[in-house]
Subunit: 255 residues, 2 copies
Amino acid sequence: MAGAGRVAGHLAVALHQRGHEIVQVVSRHAEPARALAEKVEAHPGTFSSHPPVPPADIIIYAVSDHALEEVLTLLPPEKMLALHTAGSLPADIFRGKAEHYGVLYPLQTFSEGREIDFREVPLCIEANTPDNEEKLQTLALSLSRRVVPASSSQRLFLHLAAVLVNNYVNHLYVLADELLQQEVLPFDLLHPLIEETTAKALTLGPQKAQTGPAARNDENVIKKHLELLSCSPELQTLYRMLSDSIRRRSSPEKK
Amino acid sequence: MAGAGRVAGHLAVALHQRGHEIVQVVSRHAEPARALAEKVEAHPGTFSSHPPVPPADIIIYAVSDHALEEVLTLLPPEKMLALHTAGSLPADIFRGKAEHYGVLYPLQTFSEGREIDFREVPLCIEANTPDNEEKLQTLALSLSRRVVPASSSQRLFLHLAAVLVNNYVNHLYVLADELLQQEVLPFDLLHPLIEETTAKALTLGPQKAQTGPAARNDENVIKKHLELLSCSPELQTLYRMLSDSIRRRSSPEKK
């Protein structure tokens, strides 16, 4: 395992739990590698100094996008199946640097201290040959019940969609929180609504779940809200764009 | 109960379940009033034709914002405590039309066929006199464990925040779904991520939960995503605005 950050950590622990042997955890800094190596009973090392160990079948580069090329130089895959875990990098980033390669992209957000049921994490896989794909699929299926072949281009769109439903949805929560703080109201007043909104979108699908002033083209309320936001031009513009975007998709009889 | 739509329906059923007597359900059309009245053992009627019944203490106008004034004329509150349930209408809309009035605003999205635990629905209340506020508070506390006094101005902001975390969050799900459809990928690949995003924001608070390319100011990924969206100028602009808005709030060391 090359890397000891959040993705590397969650992945290494899941692999360890499913009975895979993690030979070595190698990272830029000694301490995070040591901590993760201890958790998964592996040898620790750094990119610039790692002890020789029995060879592994697979090397997983779970490092940040911009670090991958450098790490590949410091820690070449040699004969191992080289995998990266990035949504936005093509599989071909390994071309010329590895003979056997592919991608194992977990479609989930990982945080320190939050447990994730890895069996439920969709794993998007891609490999450079059918043999490597089979090997990768076996590995992925040992971790998750949701394994999906996805091309580099599909993965880019998946990552983009993930940014929308994770980072941008969360940002709307931040903006709502800021509005309530202004009025000295606690954010947790919105908790039941947020939970129900999520549950409804997952059950009905988001198209059928849409309601509200924009979906029913309620000019009065939209105008009121835009006035309310006259002191926050950023949020006002965002509000207008989102309501226009919803209106364009709504049939007139919709609520 | 004036109105037989989704809010009226959920509210009437909750009131009935908590032992309140619903004297009459009156609506514009006979059929929805009849159906709801039957559910809560009340007399049905329409705004233009409703049988005389024993007087009620309270009349709840759970009708759409633009219908309220007309309904008030057709069905004046007389001596009853008049309540409306709208986020965006002031309590004073009753001034000159009712002696006793207030607002009972449930901060939740109600859908036909989806059960909501009313004990968990925040009820925002406001009344025109301390006596009426007490009466309203007693009513509200019989329905929910979360009763919050909120002025008309606070309620406006609550409603606006609710639009952000409900309609606009749901719209981001719609946009993500459209992206995946383009790539022939199913929306339910995003389900675990959506659930974890929500759970994380509610547990940590949205500020601490923020991650992603914009929060860590990852120009490469942002540029890639904007290129990917070159054929969807609407979504491209939205992406740029949201990522800028996140970047402005992020400290450089943030992930």
